[in-house]
Symmetry: C2
Subunit: 192 residues, 2 copies
């Protein structure tokens, strides 16, 4: 692993464990076996490091999610596909997933929240687009696509986080059945 990747990996470990603000640049470079100028050569600043970390780990996932969110006439199946993609991603990258969630809920005027916003917005757009596509069929959304998508995201993200925690990080399993059950639970609220 080259130095750049090593720094990214170390930063992920540390930000995950203690948070962006509580981790110093010095500690990152020491654990990575490099010195400060190396970090600043690749990332320009501590904030740049966080940005590139979020982009390098988030981009591949966003592409997979985009494909999974392609609406094909059935809202339930599409939501299940999206939720399944989120779950499999969380299983593959539990630390990044947890870090993402922490940043998602962090203070709005904090640097770290600004850095994660692009990813959050894209996630919201992908999910919201599902409901927009389904509006033609459902017909009764009355412009509540945003509300529905936010609620769906919150439900799924939190459920996955809980399942990650009770299994101690690794070994998380989330079956197709559980996904369908969650989606069913969510949709029942919509239709009633």
């Amino acid at each position: 692993m080259d130095n750049r990747e090593m720094i990214l990996e170390t930063a992920l470990d540390l930000f995950y464990a203690r948070g962006y603000d509580a981790v110093g640049v010095q500690e990152i470079v020491e654990r990575s076996g490099v010195t400060k100028p190396t970090l600043y050569y690749y990332f320009k600043s501590k904030y740049g490091l966080l940005e590139q970390l979020l982009e390098s780990r988030g981009e591949p996932f966003m592409e997979r999610l985009h494909k999974a969110c392609a609406y094909e006439g059935d809202l339930r199946n599409t939501l299940s596909a999206a939720a399944g993609e989120l779950a499999s991603f969380a299983k593959q990258e539990p630390k990044f997933y947890t870090l993402f969630l922490a940043l998602y809920h962090s203070a709005k005027e904090n640097e770290a929240y600004q850095a994660v916003r692009p990813l959050v917005i894209r996630l919201q757009q992908e999910i919201e687009q599902i409901f927009v596509s389904a509006a033609g069929i459902l017909g009764n959304m009355h412009g509540r696509q945003r509300q529905f998508s936010l609620g769906f995201i919150g439900l799924i993200l939190y459920d996955i986080k809980m399942k990650l925690e009770v299994n101690g990080g690794l070994r998380m399993t989330i079956s197709q059945e559980e996904i369908h059950s969650l989606v069913h639970q969510f949709m029942h609220g919509i239709y009633s």
Copy 2:
């Protein structure tokens, strides 16, 4: 307002806006119109300030929640009472509610997460106790009280946060109907 309360209020504002780690003691005392030794006289350390902030604002709420969670034979009504209490608290203290949620999701090895744990545990216990009490009647929980309570907490907390955000912090309204609808949505997943 005396100096101690002034410091607490300022700390809440700043921690809410930018997060515990990103705010320095210097800024807190400047905005409070006092000097550092005054802060350290009352709170002993920055961490102590956070602890006392969480306790002073969290304790009154926990007491109200405890009463609301008293199980009286009907799971739906009890859950609605608990959720309603959470909602009214969020409406009264939106900044503290949001700060609590941010800390709840922050990195586990971070100081701030350690500080909020007592409150988190008590919240979980209150909610879990509802399901434990209901177990005699439901009978089919198979020791899943913890899982149910965590899921319920996640659903309610996130829903309230969303409603806070779309209304720009103040002017949040969450009707009794919405509460009942949420609880219904949650329970349908349990019974099915």
